[in-house]
Symmetry: C2
Subunit: 134 residues, 2 copies
């Protein structure tokens, strides 16, 4: 018999992974709208093509609009996702493998989600990096 806390943790884990995958499906076709809608105004974003983190939705939107249409992922896999959650914040971490034109790319991702007063979960931090590739 599961405790109330275990059931809650399972539900939040499923919810967060589902939100992430929905946005990722669009992203993989070059459409950043899923992640833009899912991110909150104070979002912090970082990937290895940047020197400095992006701070806030305006910077993130400018960056994403600059690569709209350029991503074309054929296949991806979310590996060993882990969600650590409190009532109002949840952190998703996973390894992410994907192929573009048959070429394999390996990523590591941390996403921090925060619950809004309207009970929606929004991304407040995205950190993409590369694992060791050897």
């Amino acid at each position: 018999m599961k405790t109330e806390k275990e059931t809650w943790k399972e539900n939040i884990t499923e919810k967060i992974i589902s939100l992430e995958k929905q946005a990722m499906e669009l992203w993989n076709k070059g459409n950043p709208d899923g992640f833009l809608e899912l991110s909150d105004e104070d979002v912090i974003y970082f990937d290895p093509s940047l020197k400095q983190k992006l701070e806030g939705m305006e910077q993130l939107r400018t960056y994403y609009e600059g690569i709209r249409g350029l991503v074309n992922v054929d296949w991806y896999e979310m590996i060993r996702p882990v969600v650590q959650a409190t009532d109002n914040m949840a952190v998703l971490a996973y390894n992410h493998n994907c192929t573009e034109s048959g070429k394999l790319h390996k990523w590591y991702c941390t996403e921090v989600y925060r619950r809004t007063p309207e009970n929606e979960w929004k991304i407040i931090q995205t950190h993409w990096s590369h694992p060791e590739s050897l």
Copy 2:
């Protein structure tokens, strides 16, 4: 006049940055004990020398013990730290420049802290990566 919420946010920002810097001062002398004590049992850890995230304190301890005494940072700087907090979770993001034997290393760091029932803040996720270096 600051609101109660603004004061709370300032306090938590100061607290989290202070905890991080205390552990970093030890780390820079090759001593991982600060980060080990600051991390919680379910900690997730990732840096670019790993293929896969570390999951849990046992894996983190093994990893840190393997590099005990090997880090010798002469100088470091925490650049543009940002803390995003709810009552029980706080995310710190910063660029981190440091020198070892005069050589400059550039890092980006996300740390997720969670408040324990004993009202201590513990790291539950650490993500180190390299910003674009050109």
